[in-house]
């Protein structure tokens, strides 16, 4: 499964480590929320980076205290019709100020890339190679956005008002 990061297919430096499986001595790992919360300090003392896979039905409160020490948070789309993680992503970015890697995992198709990016995701475990290849192209699908989110894209309403202001300023 290809990983897209910073707009490109890239080697995934993180290893998904199943519950109960032995942790590698170093190197970046992604562990489940349960495993992480059982002993966060021990995991964070490791030489490698730590990321947590956070389920989409679990409140973020337990995760928030650790955010500045995590290298990745992976949010889960069990199917692409289950959109809970979009809210989690925006809350992590816009409310809790998380600025590390925010990864989408699960059933990820190209048709979610724009939504996910707007919600704050910057890494994507893409299901199909063809979709991963089409990432950059897909991100160009839209140039107009109606809603303000934390991604900094200027909304249509603000563009209109800027235009009106510059028009009236020029008169």
């Amino acid at each position: 499964m290809p990983l897209v990061k910073q707009g490109r297919i890239t080697t995934d430096l993180f290893v998904h480590v199943a519950d109960g499986a032995e942790l590698p001595g170093d190197g970046a790992v992604l562990v489940t929320a349960e495993r992480f919360l059982a002993d966060p300090e021990a995991l964070l003392r490791r030489a490698g980076k730590t990321g947590v896979i956070w389920p989409n039905n679990r409140n973020l409160d337990d995760l928030v205290p650790w955010l500045d020490r995590l290298a990745s948070v992976a949010l889960v789309f069990p199917t692409f019709r289950d959109g809970r993680a979009y809210s989690q992503a925006r809350l992590l970015r816009e409310r809790h100020g998380y600025d590390g890697e925010l990864r989408a995992t699960g059933q990820i198709l190209r048709d979610q890339f724009v939504f996910m990016t707007r919600a704050g995701f910057d890494a994507f475990e893409v299901k199909k190679d063809a979709d991963a290849d089409a990432f950059a192209e897909t991100m160009k699908r839209y140039s107009v956005f109606y809603q303000p989110t934390g991604d900094g894209r200027v909304t249509a309403l603000n563009r209109r008002m800027q235009l009106r202001y510059s028009e009236s300023a020029g008169q």
Binding site: F80, R81, D82, G83, R84, Y86, S87, Q88, R90, R95, L109, D111, V114, F115, M116, R118, A119, K128, A130, R141, Y142, S143, V144, F145, Y146, Q147, P148, T149, T155, A156, L157, R159, R160, M161, R164
Partner: protein, 551 residues
């Protein structure tokens, strides 16, 4: 009318390109049907019994003549020459071919029409009063707010994969023509003590198998905060709405399970944490959207022109005028409702020829504007009274002058088993038979206001729960049966109807409805007492006796 600018146009064209790519990937097999299903639903494409069905949005029920002509073109070019207006200010085409859909969408996009979010588990087409901007006594034009919300909900990155569909309706009049109490969010525009515009926000209304009337979650949300408050509701719903059972996934169930107080607390807490976000609408933002709406340049006209006085001698004209013409906020003008419920016809259908001809008439007599109401009728919102006689003649030639608006034959019905794969029973033939039974418009006039609503299954697309008489198709041992309720209503006093007795077979439905109407005529205490008021006064029992005594 709201005029799209370059940004709106760009966005819908980008959506057309995206959908073209999705269809291409489906046709090449790159997308499975399961994957494609969600994507096509996001764009109004259902797979029905016989073909794909294509649902196009008419946001808050406003159409220009150019747009109506383009809908006629789509009916003619890509379908079988007609379209079906729905109870949510959409139009459906029933025979569309998948491979041609992107072209149909591109044709519509040229005139600023789209099918975004007309189905699927997202925020659906925002609906409003079909008399918005012209109704006497309206507080202000709710379409400004409808358009702000339309933009905000379109391709929302957080709320495009909700637990279930989500519908918002707005009214700004005392009399609610937008049925806000049966919506996921209902907004009633009003002003606070300082004269500032805001909304009573209702939440958790809906029909289907577990019907609820919406409850007030906040009596007044300031207009500048309406987007953030809606977003707070959606965020709570997106995270906590049930996803384990499709029948329990609507927000009404979450509101019911938590209770409105607890739900309101969750929303308030979320809203508080959102703080003074970018969603706050300052004066300039509201004015920006307001400035894109244009209004007709009305003339100063007499209240009672000569043309109208002369035409009063024509009993057919007078009957139509009394039934279909309503007061306008500007003197000398009227709102004219066009019944899409001809005797023997399927409710809500219009042919391409009718749409084209109506567009011509709207150009001539209604400043180029047409409205679509949730009762599946159309309206011309700005007709000079002096033009009413000429307009009546033209409508009559088109078969659009049936004088039955709000009467027993003005039936709301879903497509039912004739088209829909979810249906248990037929709706359209029941409606057709009832219009024949009550074909005498004078008799229907004597019966007075009476709304019959028919749904072919429990999903309630025909809003049977809130019909004065509701008819629900069910399946019993492979046969079509119908449950009948009375006393429902969808307006500001919305309530669910009460079941009158055991379900009756297909062949007996029209007889039963006739019995109910006869019972009402015998029971009402004066001719002005409406059916729904007689039911309220006497309860279901006398009607039940009448209907089941001989069965």
């Amino acid at each position: 009318m709201y005029a799209y600018d370059e940004l709106d146009r760009t966005l819908i064209n980008e959506r057309v390109s995206e959908f073209r790519d999705q269809v291409k990937r489906r046709l090449s097999g790159e997308l499975t049907e399961d994957e494609f299903k969600i994507l096509r639903l996001q764009n109004g494409v259902y797979l029905q019994l016989h073909a794909y069905m294509f649902r196009v949005a008419i946001p808050y029920g406003t159409l220009s003549t150019k747009q109506l002509r383009r809908l006629a073109h789509v009916a003619r070019r890509y379908d079988r020459g007609y379209g079906h207006f729905t109870t949510r200010q959409n139009i459906q085409f029933n025979w569309i071919k998948l491979a041609e859909l992107p072209d149909a969408l591109a044709d519509l996009a040229e005139v600023g029409i789209h099918a975004m979010q007309t189905s699927g588990n997202n925020m659906r087409n925002v609906t409003s009063d079909q008399w918005a901007g012209v109704a006497p006594g309206e507080i202000e034009d709710p379409r400004i707010w409808s358009e702000l919300i339309r933009q905000h909900t379109t391709l929302h990155p957080e709320f495009s994969f909700l637990p279930r569909k989500f519908k918002i309706a707005i009214t700004a009049s005392e009399h609610d023509r937008a049925a806000i109490k049966i919506h996921d969010i209902g907004l009633r525009l009003h002003k606070n003590a300082d004269g500032e515009t805001g909304f009573e926000v209702l939440v958790g209304g809906g029909l289907g198998r577990t019907p609820f009337i919406a409850k007030t979650i906040k009596p007044f949300v300031h207009g500048r905060d309406v987007l953030s408050y809606i977003e707070a509701i959606l965020r709570v719903y997106n995270q906590y709405g049930r996803r384990d059972n499709i029948y329990k996934a609507r927000i009404k169930i979450l509101v019911h399970e938590l209770g409105i107080e607890k739900f309101a607390k969750e929303v308030d807490e979320e809203w508080r944490q959102m703080g003074d976000s970018e969603l706050r609408l300052d004066h300039r933002a509201i004015e920006e959207v307001r400035s894109r709406f244009s209004y007709p340049a009305y003339e100063k006209l007499p209240h009672m022109p000569d043309e109208l006085k002369q035409a009063a001698h024509d009993p057919l004209f007078e009957r139509w005028r009394k039934n279909s013409v309503s007061a306008h906020k500007v003197q000398g003008y009227s709102i004219v409702t066009l019944s899409l419920k001809p005797v023997g016809g399927p409710p809500g259908d219009a042919t391409a020829e009718q749409m084209d001809a109506l567009a011509d008439l709207a150009d001539k007599y209604s400043f180029g504007e047409i409205r679509v109401g949730h009762e599946q009728n159309l309206a011309l919102p700005h007709v000079a009274k002096r033009d009413l006689p000429a307009l009546f003649k033209a409508f009559d030639r088109l078969g659009l002058a049936t004088p039955n608006v709000n009467l027993v034959t003005d039936i709301i019905a879903c497509p039912g088993l004739d088209y829909c794969s979810l249906a248990n029973a037929r709706s359209i033939p029941i409606a057709q038979e009832l219009t024949r039974r009550f074909a005498n418009h004078d008799t229907a006039g004597l019966i007075g206001r009476l709304h019959i609503n028919i749904s072919g299954c429990i999903n309630a697309c025909g809003h049977h729960h809130v019909g004065h008489i509701g008819i629900l198709g069910v399946e019993k041992n492979g046969e079509e049966f119908y449950q009948i309720t009375i006393g429902g209503r969808a307006d500001e006093n919305a309530q669910m109807g009460t079941l009158i007795g055991p379900a009756v077979p297909y062949a007996e439905v029209a007889d039963v409805i006739e019995d109910i109407v006869e019972a009402y005529l015998a029971l009402r205490d004066r001719p002005e007492e409406l059916f729904v008021d007689t039911v309220k006064r006497l309860g279901v029992e006398p009607f039940r006796e009448r209907v089941y005594a001989t069965r």
